[in-house]
């Protein structure tokens, strides 16, 4: 009797697990991603418009940096996303290594170009902020250098995957690179604390109240949300292309297109 109950419980658990793993198959993830993309675009547009409005029309002029500080509204979100996307990419890569699920490797591959774009934007907007405030487009400072390394990690990941023909082997090799590179993320994050640097300290911090005007903070958070939603939308679009490319010889792909 007791054994019977436990057996039924096991079936319940495994059924809900199966529900989850169902989305781990490219076949069911492909249409799901297609349904989600428009919603992420809509969210990105709403947050983007609100964030830009605050960035240019609500947030006050900075006492020290005048209007030049407004670069913060794209610089910080791009920098956050460049680090966050890397962590998500490494997470999918690790999951792919551990469980050998097909979609994981595809997700990691789909995220890399968007992460590289965010790192590039972070460096670019940083240069355009550094020039008027520090007098230099670039300095070999800990924060800037570690962000540059992050950009190269993305490029290396993409190049490595592109160089290996067998996608499953490419996923494995990429995953190892991605996981080794994770060590760079805390280095970027804490670089302004660990080293004496030209880069200013964090404006937002988990332990202290933010050292900036409320409206500036809101603008930054809304822009960060817009960048986040953008990244999801574009990565899902790319993962759909990757799914079709890799699964093109399977039976379901033939029926997936209308």
């Amino acid at each position: 009797m007791g054994d019977h109950g436990r057996f039924k419980g096991c079936i319940g658990v495994s059924q809900s697990l199966i529900q989850w793993f169902r989305y781990a198959s490219p076949q069911s993830f492909y249409p799901l991603a297609g349904r989600m993309i428009p919603w992420f675009w809509a969210a990105a547009a709403v947050f983007g418009v609100a964030g830009l409005w605050i960035s240019f029309f609500v947030a006050p002029t900075d006492a020290q940096q005048g209007e030049g500080y407004r670069i913060i509204f794209v610089h910080v979100p791009a920098s956050w996303m460049s680090m966050f996307i890397y962590l998500v990419m490494a997470f999918w890569a690790a999951l792919g290594l551990a469980l050998n699920t097909r979609v994981s490797g595809m997700m990691a591959q789909a995220l890399a170009p968007t992460g590289a774009l965010m790192a590039a934007l972070s460096l670019w907007t940083g240069a355009f902020w550094g020039k008027p405030m520090w007098g230099a487009w670039w300095v070999w400072d800990a924060r800037l250098t570690s962000e540059l390394i992050l950009f190269f990690l993305y490029l290396g990941f993409m190049a490595l995957q592109a160089a290996i023909d067998d996608p499953r082997r490419a996923d494995k090799a990429g995953a190892i690179l991605a996981l080794v590179g994770v060590v760079n993320i805390p280095i970027i994050y804490f670089s302004v604390k660990w080293w004496n640097t030209l880069h200013q300290g964090s404006t937002i911090n988990l332990t202290k109240a933010p050292s900036m005007a409320q409206t500036m903070l809101w603008g930054m958070l809304l822009m960060a949300l817009a960048f986040w939603m953008y990244s999801i939308a574009v990565a899902l679009t790319r993962v759909r292309a990757i799914i079709l490319e890799r699964e093109r010889h399977t039976e379901w792909v033939k029926h997936a297109l209308e």
Partner: protein, 64 residues
């Protein structure tokens, strides 16, 4: 609202190059990247459709 004119807005208090150079690069890349991703998806769909059409034609000529 702290801008007195459109010109003042675009001048960004003397930081026009830096502010618009930053926002402009973001807008540019964030328009181009989705278009490239969308094109990649359309290309693979297109090639799959052609493949299917070729299969169907093969099938028809084989049976008739």
């Amino acid at each position: 609202m702290h801008w007195n004119s459109v010109g003042e807005f675009f001048a960004m208090g003397g930081y026009a190059l830096y502010v618009w150079g930053s926002f402009g690069a973001c807008v540019l890349l964030m328009v181009v990247e989705p278009l490239l991703a969308k094109r990649r998806l359309n290309e693979v769909r297109q090639s799959l459709r052609r493949e299917r059409l070729a299969d169907e034609l093969d099938h028809q000529s084989g049976t008739s």
